[in-house]
């Protein structure tokens, strides 16, 4: 019964998206949305869950929902901040739990009939992948290879990521290719992990924190920012619509 109700809700949400898509002029829909999915641990504590990994699991499920909402609305690309290089400093149990979650969910993306990959999304996993366990690096490669021909929607998942590391890596790539070259702003942009994606139109951070925490510093320096107080797993469809409305009206007034 619960599964049936959930399916009905998803269907209603999809139709609301279609109605919105027709009502709003196409220029008002952001092409690229970036999200800092913050507040999973606090969500777990608030709901008295035994293990913080359960909060991360709820966060992952929410990510899939939000990506589907984006895609249904006509957004072409989403970039999510899943795990930063600094998150390796968290307790070992939690890091192991997160790595296990990544393994499990990426495997699901590869095998599940209705997964994002099977429904036409291209998945790019960006960051310093060499810092991940070897088996996870292999899965990451398979996920990227399996989806590289998809072009309906692009999902960039930032794993072991720090924007400062991304910028330095870009500079090193340019220098390696041509050691005498004068480095320009354009060169750096073209060699970032996210290249050739457009800059995000909108950056959302949940949990009430009001900073970028080294997420897409280069790409988002002209993006519209939005800091939501809600914890990521609690981010609702209604709040997502408000975000789109916020973008629509700010975009119109600037």
């Amino acid at each position: 019964m619960r599964v049936f109700i959930r399916k009905i809700i998803k269907l209603i949400q999809k139709y609301i998206m279609y109605i919105l898509w027709y009502l709003l002029p196409s220029t008002s829909i952001p092409n690229h949305i970036a999200i800092i999915m913050d507040g999973n641990r606090r969500f777990a504590r608030k709901n008295k869950l035994d293990d913080v990994t359960l909060g991360h699991r709820a966060g992952f499920e929410k990510m899939i929902d939000v990506v589907r909402w984006c895609r249904d609305l006509g957004v072409k690309e989403a970039t999510v901040y899943a795990f930063s290089l600094e998150n390796f400093n968290r307790p070992q149990d939690e890091v192991d739990g997160l790595m296990q979650l990544a393994r499990e969910k990426f495997e699901q993306m590869l095998s599940h009939r209705e997964s994002l990959i099977r429904t036409g999304a291209r998945i790019k996993i960006i960051g310093k992948i060499s810092t991940l366990p070897q088996d996870l690096q292999d899965i990451v490669e398979r996920v990227q290879n399996d989806s590289k021909r998809n072009n309906a929607f692009t999902l960039n998942i930032c794993v072991a990521y720090l924007s400062t590391e991304e910028i330095v890596n870009s500079i090193n790539q340019i220098h390696l290719a041509n050691p005498t070259r004068r480095i320009s702003e354009k060169d750096i942009s073209e060699n970032l992990y996210t290249s050739p994606s457009p800059e995000p139109c909108l950056v959302i951070r949940t949990s009430g924190e009001r900073r970028l925490s080294s997420f897409l510093l280069w790409q988002a320096c002209n993006s519209l920012l939005l800091f939501e107080k809600v914890y990521w797993p609690d981010f609702s469809f209604y709040q997502f619509l408000l975000v789109i409305e916020y973008y629509h009206f700010t975009h119109k007034s600037t």
């Binding site: 330095v168 900073r211 925490s213 920012l225 700010t250």
Partner: protein, 191 residues
């Protein structure tokens, strides 16, 4: 207040500047013991406006206690007139050229002298040294859109950001609310 930023960034995303409002804002920041303020606008604030802001600020410094708003804010912050003396406020005007182009320039200069690969920590030191200012702990953005507008991106890693629709006729109470909210924040740097 438990915590006051040492460096505040004021980012203007507006076409019109009201020098008196900006000077008032700087004056309140001075009372709050902020040491450095960067005033950023994508195209840069014109020389004429800069001079007007500094002139208005000097006027305010010379009659610090007489303004009603200032009296209230000083009482609120428990600051007395003698506290205000011998304190420096560094004001810097910057624009988009101090942002991404400056990072590219630092990279070119560094790699022309050093042949080995760059590392993040070393490059960060260079970026901060060349820019001549440290990252701001707090940024207040004025304008219709809440956007950093090209403010030096490397400096914004851990900056707390707040937004107002305009800088004109801003009330000191609103600014104080931002500082109170900032004072309550705790960053755990990914841990």
């Amino acid at each position: 207040m438990k915590k006051i930023p040492t460096h505040l960034a004021l980012i203007f995303n507006e076409t019109y500047y009201r020098s008196k409002s900006i000077a008032e804002l700087l004056n309140w920041c001075y009372m709050l013991r902020i040491q450095t303020i960067t005033l950023y606008s994508e195209e840069g604030i014109e020389e004429k406006i800069r001079n007007e802001i500094l002139r208005d600020l000097r006027k305010m410094f010379s009659r610090q206690i007489t303004q009603d708003g200032n009296k209230t804010i000083m009482q609120q912050l428990d600051v007395c007139a003698s506290d205000m003396k011998n304190r420096n406020l560094e004001i810097m005007f910057i624009d988009r050229m101090n942002g991404k182009p400056a990072i590219a320039k630092v990279a070119t200069n560094y790699l022309s002298n050093h042949k080995q690969e760059l590392c993040v920590e070393e490059f960060e030191k260079k970026v901060f040294l060349e820019s001549e200012f440290k990252p701001p702990e707090l940024a207040i953005i004025f304008g219709p859109a809440f956007s950093a507008c090209g403010y030096p991106p490397w400096h914004l890693q851990f900056t707390e950001m707040y937004h107002f629709q305009t800088h004109r006729y801003i009330h000191w109470r609103s600014v104080l609310d931002v500082f109170t909210s900032f004072a309550k924040t705790k960053q755990n740097y990914g841990k």
